[in-house]
């Protein structure tokens, strides 16, 4: 507070995080205390004052972007539930972390949807998976599980159907590992807990009615007359989940007035596997290949965000060596190549959605295959790369991209790795981008379908926590690689792609610019790789341990992935001196949160545009549903 008094010329909306916290404390004395648990940051806010404090944080302090809101169950570690919020300024800089605690028995925390609309889906997720109620939420119902599901699966005391042990590695595997299949031991139904009052023969499914309820149906299904006197019916149309243009098992429930969409409600969770629960049973290392399966188009980026979060935690300990320069350069190269793959894929399938069926996308996939060949030779797999490790990588680049004829696979290739890369980066990828632009940018059909369709304003984009090309296509120049830089991005020369219009075409333009910027970054990486040739990818020259102990604390690692901001909130708790399994492992999935504004973006457009609008957001259901 003295600080604040001493530097009055610093406007409060750009003040440092510490000053901002001091300001909050002076404003709301008694409602705020510092989070002083070892390795934790930010403040703990009294739930009764949460909404007021959040208003100040957003309005006066300028933290206009709510990146992540998630719950933690501290069963046995204080026995409370906690909501953790990470708010950022779109002008750049670090997070203001604030938390609110509630008891486990009857958890309730006021909803922040009135402050940031981006809290909508995230609070529904916390209700669904943790059972925390959010008074004030306009539509608090389950989002990943179905309505009528018994229990809240992320709670520490909730056990899944094939539950074996609290934490991996399981004792039954070694030394007395007599194999069996889980389904043989747990015959279906045996370890499902039914509530005592349930009658299985008269089971009712309330999930459908819950979906329609929020659309306000039953009141207005009456016939209505439109302006020109044509008689149109208000109809409910289900698009998906089994529909080729929803990019996976995703469903949209629309009400349409004639051809015009009056409201849209996304319904998801068909691919839900409780990734986070699996992640909390896993050890830290186990999680890396699981992150590949989130956004399976850009697994390198997923790896990167996760290892950054765990490295942040590890750096709290005494024995920690940050990755070497070569390691960082390789990481950046891999994620930029993934970004190229991602954007080629996104643009290609978006074109499928608006009717350019498969010709463009096949041209792009052809180039993607080259990049995947490279991933396969370096990391061992085309899509499930599992390439990054804490403090290092799976391996350095091989000398040659080379296959050995074996078994029946006899078509052999043999390239020099660096030459292959150089040719890809300097010739092939730029040529593809040129072709892509020639094919699409001035194409009249693309223009007519996409200009002024699916418009999202800059304010809405920020308010709804949109991220990535969706945010930048609405004129907000927010790119984590610049706003909150990590790895070696600060020393690389590249521009943030922004377009002002906020329509589908603007998002397409952003992606094209980002493709070019990625090539620009890759061109700067090549000489760095040459210069560091021979340097180890591990700080101390040898691979890290397979069961690292991670010091007590929390970390939020986030990266700018192809689809937007990908964040990992990881908590290490339980046990002195750290843990080998994460206590909390949360994925802030851009494909999930970017759907929050979908309903708003679709209102007033035609049914045929909806698929295109969804395609222009670029989601992948592995990440949406987790």
């Amino acid at each position: 507070m003295e600080n604040l008094a001493a530097a009055p010329e610093q406007p409060i909306e750009t003040a440092s995080i510490d000053d901002a916290i001091a300001y909050l404390k002076s404003n709301h004395p008694g409602a705020i205390k510092l989070d002083d648990r070892a390795g934790y940051e930010g403040i703990i806010v009294d739930p009764d004052h949460l909404v007021d404090v959040a208003r100040v944080i957003r309005g006066e302090l300028g933290f206009d972007y709510l990146s992540s809101a998630t719950a933690v169950d501290y069963l046995g570690e204080g026995d409370h539930m906690e909501m953790v919020y990470h708010a950022y300024r779109t002008g750049g800089g670090g997070a203001l972390v604030f938390k609110a605690q509630t008891d486990r028995e009857n958890p309730a925390i006021p909803s922040l949807t009135s402050v940031w609309r981006g809290a909508d889906f995230q609070e529904r997720e916390a209700w669904d998976l943790y059972g925390i109620r959010f008074p004030g939420h306009p539509n608090l119902k389950r989002i990943l599980m179905w309505e009528g599901f018994h229990g809240h699966p992320m709670r520490k005391d909730w056990r899944e159907a094939y539950y074996e042990e609290e934490l991996k590695p399981f004792d039954s595997r070694w030394p007395g590992g007599h194999v069996h299949r889980s389904e043989e031991k747990n015959v279906f139904g045996k370890n499902v807990n039914y509530p005592t009052d349930i009658d299985l023969n008269r089971l009712m499914d309330s999930s459908e009615s819950a979906v329609y309820e929020s659309l306000g149906l039953g009141v207005d299904v009456e016939r209505i007359m439109d302006k020109d006197g044509f008689e149109t019916n208000e109809l409910v149309v289900n698009m998906g989940p089994h529909h080729p243009s929803t990019h996976g098992v995703f469903r949209m429930v629309l009400t349409v007035d004639g051809e015009t969409v009056t409201s849209l409600e996304p319904v998801m969770g068909y691919l839900h596997r409780n990734h986070e629960k699996i992640g909390e049973r896993n050890t830290y290392l186990h999680n890396i290949p699981f992150t590949d399966r989130l956004d399976y188009i850009s697994s390198m980026g997923n790896n990167h965000g996760y290892v950054l979060a765990v490295e942040q935690l590890m750096s709290l300990g005494r024995k920690y060596n940050p990755p070497t320069y070569r390691c960082e350069a390789l990481r950046v190269m891999m994620v930029e190549l993934s970004r190229i793959v991602n954007h080629l894929w996104a643009i290609g399938f978006w074109l499928n959605d608006i009717g350019a069926f498969f010709t463009p996308v096949l041209y792009f996939i052809q180039e993607r295959e080259r990049i995947l060949d490279f991933f396969e030779a370096v990391a061992g797999s085309r899509m499930m790369c599992n390439y990054m490790r804490f403090g290092g990588l799976f391996g350095d680049l091989p000398e040659r991209i080379k296959s050995v004829s074996n078994l029946t696979n006899d078509r052999v290739r043999d390239y020099n790795t660096m030459q292959f890369l150089t040719e890809m980066i300097n010739e092939r990828i730029p040529r593809t981008i040129d072709e892509l632009e020639l094919l699409l940018t001035q194409n009249e059909i693309v223009l007519e379908r996409s200009v002024d369709v699916g418009v999202l304003s800059a304010e809405d984009a920020i308010n709804y926590s949109a991220a990535g090309p969706l945010l930048r296509g609405s004129g907000v120049a927010y790119d984590i690689r610049r706003a909150d830089p990590y790895s070696i991005y600060p020393e690389l020369d590249f521009d943030i792609a922004v377009e002002e219009e906020g329509d589908m075409y603007a998002r397409y333009r952003v992606r094209v610019t980002e493709l070019r910027e990625s090539v620009r970054i890759l061109r700067q990486i090549l000489p760095r790789l040459e210069a560091t040739k021979g340097e180890s990818i591990w700080a101390d020259g040898k691979p890290g341990a397979y069961q690292p102990r991670v010091p007590h604390g929390e970390a939020y690692g986030r990266v700018e992935n192809g689809k937007g901001e990908l964040g990992y909130y990881v908590v290490s708790a339980g046990g002195r001196g750290g843990s080998s399994n994460p206590w909390r492992y949360h994925v802030r999935a851009p494909s999930f949160i970017n759907l929050t504004p979908l309903g708003r973006m679709s209102q007033g457009y035609k049914v045929a545009d909806i698929v295109g609008i969804l395609g222009s957001i670029d989601i992948v259901l592995g990440e949406t549903d987790r």
Partner: protein, 278 residues
């Protein structure tokens, strides 16, 4: 003029179509001929036009680091002292590090003393659950488990074929050196010998103790531990650093005949397995 953008795009598709044939002419249709050079051209960065691989008539050989389901290394049949012995010591690290926990190991125990012996009694991998992450191979301290390149494993009945037991998992060391020569070479450099760590240690100890005349067992002299004369150089002295210049050291120096032979054997193995699965 309205439609120009569209026309330009259409010209591009036409160009792609024509370029395929120009490329064919440029390489005199060699692109389709079965040889390394030609296939490299077709799949390389310079090629233009259509580049489809006609799977399953043609199959791309996978790169060395490619990972599918793991297999266990056993010593070659013609190894003088350890023929058919597992490289695995049943230390259990792979089972711990496996993310979906699909490795099951029964540690071997000496029937007389009851003490653990460094060889697994049983070893299972449930390949339905295996997520092909490669951790087991990466963290095994004895280089005893490796990722296989054989990816055609579909079968009609998962319950009877998809839990691989030790017999199904085991493949000779020479197979690994065949499918991944560079990596086998790098691993040899780290271990300091082409042999299993323990074999090398034993040989050293054997040599030392027989020199002192206290050995009760006939210890294998260091020079005979090697499996073939061609590999002799690195092990001439197990303690000395390997000499990479020697034959067997350059991983890609194998001639085509040998490779052809190996491929034939692998095909036979595969056919046998298919017959067994019915």
């Amino acid at each position: 003029m309205y439609g120009t953008g569209l026309a330009k795009g259409l010209l591009l598709t036409l160009r792609h179509f024509v370029e395929s044939y120009i490329d064919d002419l440029r390489y005199g249709f060699r692109k389709y001929h079965h040889s390394t050079d030609n296939f490299g051209i077709r799949q390389g960065t310079k090629t233009k036009g259509v580049i489809t691989v006609q799977y399953p008539d043609e199959k791309v050989a996978v790169p060395e680091r490619f990972r599918f389901v793991p297999f266990l290394i056993v010593e070659d049949e013609d190894h003088p002292t350890r023929a058919g012995k597992d490289w695995c010591t049943s230390c259990g690290i792979c089972a711990k590090v496996c993310p979906p926990q699909c490795i099951w190991i029964v540690r071997g125990n000496d029937p007389v003393t009851g003490r653990p012996v460094p060889e697994p009694e049983a070893f299972f991998i449930d390949i339905d659950i295996c997520m092909n992450c490669g951790y087991c191979a990466e963290y095994c301290p004895f280089d005893a488990i490796k990722m296989d390149h054989d990816y055609e494993m579909a079968s009609y009945d998962r319950t009877s074929h998809h839990i691989h037991d030790k017999e199904r998992l085991s493949k000779p060391n020479s197979y690994w050196r065949g499918i991944a020569p560079t990596r086998a070479y790098e691993e040899m450099l780290v271990r300091g010998t082409w042999e299993h760590k323990d074999a090398a240690k034993e040989a050293r100890r054997g040599a030392a103790s027989s020199a002192r005349g206290r050995s009760s067992q006939p210890a294998a002299p260091a020079a005979t531990v090697t499996s073939s004369a061609a590999e002799a150089a690195p092990e001439a002295s197990a303690a000395a650093a390997p000499a990479p210049a020697a034959e067997g050291a350059t991983p890609w120096s194998e001639d085509d005949a040998k490779r052809e032979e190996r491929r034939r054997k692998a095909l036979e193995r595969k056919a046998r397995r298919a017959a067994k699965q019915g």
